[in-house]
């Protein structure tokens, strides 16, 4: 049987984009109030062109409640998945991802600290948590890689994962410590550790889109270097990659993206771990194709996960992190066993 990746062509992107748009529309239409697809399309089209929206269409729900949320979900999904794909290539490690390495939990620690200490930037309510989340994401990544490097100079899969797990435990105990001192913030702190996208607004989406444009652009620009790293760091050096500089640039881009994502949505696990694997089945390991495909896959997956989270037990909304972990872990085990058996 031919592998799926052998059939990859640019048409696949068109299909992925179409699937993404379909999911976006689906997620706007479905919810506690069902909205006809036609109304959604008319509302979006008219507001894009600055036209009056006809009466009888639930304008407020579409434009002020669901659209911001859906945009944020898609952007967070794309960002997390892109970061996972980049880290899996850079560290040559199919288990690398913001959540397995403890970067996401590090970012939530930063956000929780900002919340408990009241760090804020005047004029931009999310600024303090966002900045702290980015800072802590980068510090966590630096700490984890530094510790792993001290343990084993080749930065092998096992030592990175081991340090990542230990670091995550450390961080969660730190978060629990903060909770015990800051009882009044407990509800909002829980949000950072489980993830949720309710109540996100268009300015969050704007910041996310900007971060994705800048950092994502940087990561995509280094697709060839990521291929070289995925083959091996020594090999990358031998063919002329400036190993240290490229590694640092990619790690900074990844930390900023994870930091911004976590500050908008809280820590959502498994998107960055599983979606690049799924994308790799379609595109093969070449990052020039893998990175964009991972972004589409991540966005689609998180949209469907969010839809599930808010509809399956409606009117109760379950945390989106619970859905992604349940689905992601199951899918990951299936993928992992299949690839292991195939050798």
């Amino acid at each position: 049987m031919k592998k799926l990746s052998e059939h990859f062509s640019w048409g696949t992107y068109v299909l992925l984009a179409a699937a993404l748009i379909a999911c976006l529309l689906l997620c706007i239409c479905v919810g506690s109030v069902a909205i006809p697809l036609k109304d959604t399309v008319v509302a979006l089209w008219n507001s894009l062109r600055g036209l009056e929206i006809p009466a009888g269409i639930s304008k407020n729900i579409i434009l002020n409640v669901r659209l911001p949320r859906v945009l944020n979900v898609a952007l967070v999904g794309a960002a997390l998945s892109l970061c996972g794909a980049a880290m899996q290539g850079l560290l040559r490690n199919p288990l690398a991802d913001g959540s397995t390495l403890g970067v996401s939990s590090g970012a939530s620690l930063g956000a929780v600290l900002a919340l408990a200490l009241g760090v804020s930037i005047p004029g931009f309510s999310l600024g303090g948590t966002m900045l702290m989340a980015m800072l802590f994401a980068f510090l966590s990544l630096a700490a984890i890689l530094g510790l792993a490097y001290a343990l084993d100079r080749s930065l092998s899969t096992n030592s990175i994962i081991l340090i990542g797990v230990i670091f995550s435990m450390f961080v969660s105990s730190a978060i629990n410590l903060i909770i015990s001192f800051a009882q009044e913030h407990i509800k909002s702190i829980t949000f950072w550790t489980m993830g949720s996208l309710s109540g996100t607004n268009l300015s969050c989406a704007g910041v996310l889109a900007l971060a994705l444009l800048l950092c994502g652009g940087v990561i995509l620009r280094y697709a060839r270097e990521l291929n070289a790293f995925a083959i091996g760091e020594d090999n990358a050096r031998n063919i002329g990659v400036n190993v240290r500089r490229v590694k640092l640039i990619i790690l900074i881009a990844v930390s900023v993206l994870i930091g911004v994502s976590v500050s908008v949505s809280g820590a959502i696990g498994f998107v960055g771990l599983v979606m690049p694997h799924m994308a790799r089945m379609i595109t093969g390991p070449n990052h020039k194709r893998l990175l964009p495909a991972s972004m589409f896959a991540g966005a689609i997956f998180l949209l469907l996960a969010d839809l599930t989270a808010r509809t399956i037990l409606a009117p109760v909304e379950i945390p989106i992190g619970v859905v992604t972990s349940l689905v992601g872990a199951t899918a990951f085990i299936a993928v992992f066993y299949r690839t292991r058996k195939a050798g």
Partner: protein, 253 residues
């Protein structure tokens, strides 16, 4: 013309000097064989030359400190085949080989690599991999993988080839094929080769010069016949290497 020169290179892992105050010189047209027992520091020396291992002392590439050389600039001059090559993801042979052209196309103002396609084709052909070009590297045998990375180095089109055990995983047919291929490659002016070789017969057959290493130090260096003498080998390997090799060959008569 002097192509590469090492002055008092020392590499330490903790207190242990793996390469200890070693100097060498590589002239145009030379094939320098690094020989010596396991743990002599041969691969570490190659790691230092390829800037993968921190060292003290100087390595001069065409007279200039190699540390100041930009990574891509260095890669256009020196191609390195590492000892351990494995790939974690299912890249195709051609994708791996094509990465050898990285140094010619990197940078924001990347120049067009008009020559690249032809170089990749030639490298695939030379190493006998044309039919495998679309195969996933995960499905290759050890020898095929070794040839893939060798093809990558050829595609890189360097002036100095540095090969850490190029005969690794290769059967006799490909050993002979690859070594005579490198010999041919060396005939073009302005080129030189350094290789780590365990098979002393191969070292003697193809090398012009040799550095015999033991415990990180240079035990002897110079022209290959003057270095690989019975006395030198006996002192480094602590056994009568000549008698052993003659004995091995005698079985076939």
């Amino acid at each position: 013309m002097q192509m590469l020169k090492g002055n008092h290179i020392t590499v330490r892992y903790g207190d242990n000097a793996v390469v200890d105050d070693l100097s060498f010189e590589l002239q145009e047209g030379q094939w320098l064989m690094l020989v010596g027992p396991n743990g002599a520091g041969k691969s570490t020396l190659i790691g230092a030359i390829s800037q993968g291992v921190p060292y003290t002392g100087d390595i001069l590439l065409e007279g200039a400190d190699i540390r100041r050389c930009k990574a891509a600039q260095r890669a256009r001059k020196i191609g390195v085949l590492s000892q351990k090559n494995s790939v974690g993801y299912g890249y195709t042979v051609e994708e791996v080989v094509r990465l050898g052209r990285y140094a010619y196309t990197s940078g924001f103002l990347s120049t067009r690599d008009d020559d690249g396609k032809a170089q990749v084709e030639r490298a695939l052909e030379l190493t006998g991999l044309t039919d495998f070009r679309h195969a996933s590297v995960l499905t290759l045998s050890g020898g095929e993988l070794q040839r893939t990375f060798l093809a990558q180095v050829f595609a890189q089109d360097p002036q100095i080839l540095i090969l850490d055990e190029p005969a690794n995983h290769l059967d006799l047919v490909y050993q002979k094929h690859i070594f005579s291929l490198i010999g041919q490659w060396l005939k073009t002016p302005g080129r030189a080769v350094i290789s780590v070789v365990h098979d002393l017969s191969l070292a003697r057959r193809y090398g012009t010069h040799a550095v015999l290493m033991n415990h990180g130090k240079c035990a002897a260096q110079g022209e290959v016949d003057a270095v690989l003498t019975p006395e030198n080998l006996r002192s480094v390997y602590s056994m009568d290497v000549y008698a052993w090799m003659k004995d091995m060959l005698a079985q076939w008569q």
